[in-house]
Symmetry: C2
Subunit: 447 residues, 2 copies
């Protein structure tokens, strides 16, 4: 899935200096029992790689004390940075702090600052603080505290012999800001990670990985020895990351090459950074003060969710309909019964009627519709499982496209949604450029 393509294999690279080994220990019976997904790995892995680091290993173990001690001792002996998540709370199965202290040979000392933070927090919520909470007010004697603005258990920081231990609380809304605001800057200050993003990412849509590589290869060849290039494909989108291959390649230089790539890619280029297709469409809609309405059958709310998951969606998203029955298509979107009788619900005609109906009913400038067979059931000879019709309504007219993806239901749905979003994006870019020709806004420095 990730294919690094060094532009010149013989060039000296920044990889010559070994990267500090970073290990992540995620604690919790609920992870091993499959009751909760290991979102910490995804988040922490992403944030570290953005800053030029790399998780070497993630070990998940349960809440059992001796297992925690044994695993921590092993990771601490091997890695330069050890990050743990979970097990810092007030209940009796939160034993991580004690076990780790034993391995480090560190005393746990009561910290008044933490205790005061906790009391303050309980006061603010108007609740009495029970004594077991004070268990969270202990830190390592030679360690520091990472304050927690969103919960009671603080994080812990400990350094020895050039090694770092970071202990983070389990709830994602506590862990994530603590990592980004406190831990990453400290690791950057120590030289373990880069200060900011260590690569420039170009996002593309609607073009395959190998076609993309062919388009960009002449640019990479012209900068042989300067760049490392990696591609990552996901359901209709491909990201391309440019990193410096040598320490003397500046950020400005990377951005210059990235701009050349973006210009070469034209409409296939989505943007720099990490914004989703929906976010990019949302920004373009806001810029044009235009509203969007959507309608969908087989994707069952996924198209609407991709917009409503963004905050402030009321500014550009009028609404959506999930139309399973023919009745709902007629009632919610004014799809004429004749279209459904003559062409069926999975047809270009119905997709067009849905997109136009959604936009016109809600007074939106753009309407986007998806209808099809996501599988595993449904489908017919003409339109087998995996066939989707996507329609886009704009002020210039309304069109439909037929697509077909093999694969499991969830992948088919996601592909169809990404295809629809990318089509909308291309139309929005055209509309913008028609309004202000000669002003290509690639956005790298706008962020």
């Amino acid at each position: 899935m990730v294919s690094p393509t060094p532009s010149d294999d013989n060039s000296p690279t920044s990889q010559d200096a070994p990267r500090p080994a970073i290990e992540l220990i995620t604690l919790g019976d609920e992870l091993l029992l499959g009751l909760t997904a290991n979102g910490h790995l995804t988040f922490i892995g992403q944030e570290i790689s953005k800053r030029g680091g790399r998780l070497l290993r993630n070990v998940t173990i349960g809440d059992e004390a001796t297992a925690i001690a044994a695993q921590f001792a092993e990771s601490w002996a091997r890695a330069t940075v050890v990050i743990t998540t979970g097990g810092l709370g007030p209940t009796c199965d939160d034993r991580t702090r004690e076990e780790v202290a034993k391995v480090l040979g560190q005393e746990l000392v009561f910290d008044d600052t933490i205790a005061e933070d906790m009391r303050e927090r309980f006061r603010a919520f108007g609740r009495p603080m029970t004594d077991n909470n004070l268990k969270q007010a202990y830190r390592f004697a030679d360690g520091e505290v990472l304050r927690n603005a969103n919960g009671t258990a603080p994080g812990l920081w400990y350094e020895r012999d050039g090694k770092v231990l970071v202990m983070l609380p389990g709830p994602p809304n506590e862990l994530q800001p603590m990592l980004v605001e406190q831990v990453l800057p400290r690791l950057a200050a120590m030289g373990v990670l880069a200060e900011g993003e260590s690569y420039v990412q170009l996002r593309t849509a609607g073009v395959g990985e190998s076609a993309l590589e062919s388009m960009l290869q002449p640019i990479f060849d012209a900068h042989a020895g300067e760049l490392e290039v990696a591609f990552c494909a996901h359901q209709g989108q491909v990201d391309c990351r440019l990193s410096p291959a040598r320490a003397d390649v500046s950020r400005a230089r990377l951005e210059e090459v990235a701009q050349q790539c973006a210009a070469e890619l034209g409409a296939d280029f989505m943007g720099f950074g990490h914004d989703s297709l929906a976010k990019i469409c949302a920004d373009l809609l806001r810029e044009q003060e235009a509203m969007l309405a959507v309608a969908e059958t087989a994707t069952g709310g996924m198209l609407a969710s991709s917009f409503t998951d963004l905050s402030g969606a009321t500014k550009f998203f009028a609404g959506g309909s999930v139309c399973y029955s023919n009745e709902s298509k007629m009632q919610l979107l004014d799809v004429p019964e004749e279209i459904l009788m003559q062409h069926g619900a999975v047809s270009a005609e119905n997709a067009i009627a849905m997109a136009a109906g959604a936009a016109e009913k809600l007074g939106a400038a753009y309407g986007l519709a998806i209808t099809g067979f996501a599988g595993p059931c449904g489908g017919n000879n003409e339109n087998p499982v995996g066939t989707m019709f996507v329609a886009l309504y704009t002020q210039e007219g309304v069109w439909s496209k037929r697509i077909r993806y093999p694969g499991p239901r969830q992948a088919v749905k996601l592909r169809a949604v990404n295809f629809a979003l990318d089509w909308l994006r291309r139309e929005l870019v055209k509309a913008r450029d028609n309004q202000s020709p000669g002003l290509p806004s690639l956005g790298l420095h706008d962020r």
Copy 2:
């Protein structure tokens, strides 16, 4: 999150015999880079714990050959069963098979059955098979093959000295059926896992964990020494698992106690097993041949998705509306403008108008609506962030309830959806029991 409550601490338990240690090694740079969530841990952890086993550890490492060899050697020395995922494909970064063979001291031999399976698969898809695919046709000399009905790379099985190695392909739609249909039955035949589910799970909704425990404690006390009880809470739902505490406690006995618990819980009891709230509602709707329509604002499609993610949703789900703008509430659901002007979009009045509008427009017997402030923005003094109004329309009338949850946006949304689904479930159960009084159908033996 998981709190085991032994009903009698001094009783001998089935835990006296040590459980076979099972370790999972998940391979892939994309996991450590945070590009893909580690869904294999969730799925495999769940399936193993259902059958009375327990994952002791999950290690995620990248695609680098020496790291794979070192990690496998470590896990193989320590565990009774080692399961690996990924790295079995045809490309050059799929090195797992070779590295593991070296550690085991096993030759890799070409297997004609696998090669023929692959050729057949390519023929069926009308594509030529490139030679690099034949790399996947190798198995361990003393090992076996797990055939793959959904992809080219077969799984591998190897036993030695009472230890088992299971190697599974990475794509979830290949791995999951292979695990359930081939691996779990083999492990059960060896006595590593139970033949079927080793516990009886009661799902409950709308009651907290400690209240639930108090309600059931008299039943547990009456069966002291027979049962192990564990609770697991998730966003408005609590599961209670009963397992045998002694080898002589039969499955029938467990089910008998579970029936007692279900009867004691009354309407708070959702069902036995693993069905979601949406699935239970769907089954009740199908049973009554009734259709459902939904309407939502802040949950942005999550309510609709919980039904459309179920296969065959057209049978009971008429459709849904995601109404962000006031325009959309008026146009899609006939919400009167006066209600929006006088009471606002986040109000009991609007929720009621949305639920009734959705049901009446689509000719559905039931209408379910959610409107509110999921946060982090929005909210006012009267209805702060986290306030949601849920409304339910039935043939008997339409009502609204106000709920408020603190917490991050995603949790607030999920809570509100679960609250709405649980309310619908309770009404559907009432409607069913009114139709056939004296026939409580608890469903344990119906599944």
